[in-house]
Amino acid sequence: MIPLVSAGVRVPLQTAETTTVGSPLLNITIFGLFVAITLVIVLRASRNNKTAADYYAAGRSFTGGQNGTAIAGDYLSAASFLGIVGAIAINGYDGFLYSIGFLVAWLVALLLVAELLRNTGKFTMADVLSFRLKQRPVRIAAAITTLAVCFFYLLAQMAGAGGLVSLLLGIDDRLGQSLVITVVGVLMIMYVLIGGMKGTTWVQIIKACLLIAGAFIMTVWVLVLHDFNLSTLLGAAIETSGNAAITSPGLQYGISATTRLDFLSLALALVLGTAALPHVLMRFYTVPTAKEARRSVVWAIWLIGAFYLFTLVLGYGASALIGSDRILAAPGGVNSAAPLLAYELGGSILLGLISAVAFATILAVVAGLTITAAASFAHDIYASVIRKGKVNPDGEVKVARRTVVVIGLLSILGGIGAQGQNVAFLVALAFAVAASANLPTILYSLFWRKFNTQGAVWSMYGGLGSAILLIALSPVVSGGEKSMIQGADFSVFPLSNPGIVSIPLAFFLGWLGTTLSKTAEDPMKQAEMEVRSLTGVGAEKATDH
């Protein structure tokens, strides 16, 4: 999920003229086939998109297994596939650390969030947070943090798409990449506009199956070449790289005290960010009951866990069979480890398949983010705050559809503008913002009886503001070799991830705001929320067709 590319490995992208592997035409053909098939499915799925529950929550009619697969599809982005394989291939063990954080984070969702959220909400995260607090301020704050997280995440995916194309389709110039970003954006707008949550979910399910199957085939292939013995594989990786340190931690983050602290900060943001990502939370509304929400997470944990185990083998496999020199010299640098490995194993056909899957992945993730942002705007800001609930669901869906187009266009523009930017910066910001702005309020409102509106508002704005401010003052933005703004240095904050400061701060502000507030909340509402969250009484049911 995090493109590790620029996080620690400093690689000149697009180094000189390099050997292009595979056939761009084949890659485009396979990808075109994916788009055609998914479009047909989206069209078929869209026939029942009438009510808001259909459009935002797919009529709550997916099973736990389907939704769990879609969650895996949402979560395993191209960056996570290409990025983690590449990071392990180059940095060895330190790449592995990411996947562990991403996986363990799901326990927060499973144990503390998924079921209770499904029982108390309707379409968005703000539904849950404003359940027993004052509607307007809490809903606005929750919608703003949702939009902020989605926006940074979207930018990262769109910018990543540009980088991916240069690697997979052999398009290197800026104009060509902008064109591809536009195509991705337009396709995504079509999916979400026509298919709503149902279409988006199917795209994610198909993509997750392809991605996991592709990774599985490659993993078995690599293992066959190494006698199904992890030790042999590690030995081969050590031999090719000539560096025994790749099997133990420290290559990337062990450089100095600051990088170590930075890793700690990142680990905190990863493990607490997942359960607060709005597009992940929204997926829990697509199933009929809390029990199915639980099943979704269980499916997601198995699929995501298996996938990250594959990336461990693939990363060391790329390290052993290709070697870091060749990977770094390829267009796309670190990101090219997985495609190069595919080419090494199965020639241009396997490369074409893997490339198409990686590209389809971006499309699916972007679609999921867009529908979340659109739902949050239409449901929380337009229907609840601007129209004060005096809007019929059809009108709300109409606004949501328009919002999809606006967000699509914004992300195309943003993606074009963000080309060549540090992609890791945007995704890490999304995780850190989610963990600081959303998680404290989600946990407090589910588990702390005395929690009140002031606490929620302080925690959300404090978390959002401090996370963004610290990033702005970090070496990612200025003062470093790879900073976004060159030639200036206002990096007062030494770490590139703000989590270690902003997350505890947001928890503290939630507590402080609550204790200092003089207005008590309605105890009836608190009781209702608690009873509903645990029993599922009165929860939104599936719509049948």
Partner: protein, 127 residues
Amino acid sequence: MGSHPGEPAAGSGPAVDFTEVQQTEQFRELRKRHRSFVFPMAVFFLLWYFAYVLLADYAHEFMATPVVGNINIGIVLGLLQFVSTFAITMWYVSYANRRLDPIAANLRHELEEAAPEAFIDPSGGKK
């Protein structure tokens, strides 16, 4: 929630007194069972995760200690994080199926029978 027209009649003057339900023996038992499992478990896996992160971050030599062939303590501990995540997942599912779901279902049915009009799906379950 609650301020929307056509939502479950939860917002204004609910037919069910939830504060009363909250005080019932059955609900308190459900809440106790839920929290006495998820809180300690959350604390446990976070401690175990951060212990691992700190070791990986600050104890490189320890993590590099060989165990079998080229496999070292770091790889073993990393894989154990996967194992513990899968194990906690299965444990929670079995606990929830046995100890939480029956009470929750029971309470839900009692409430829905006591005040059916309060929990009718506004859309009638369809359009």
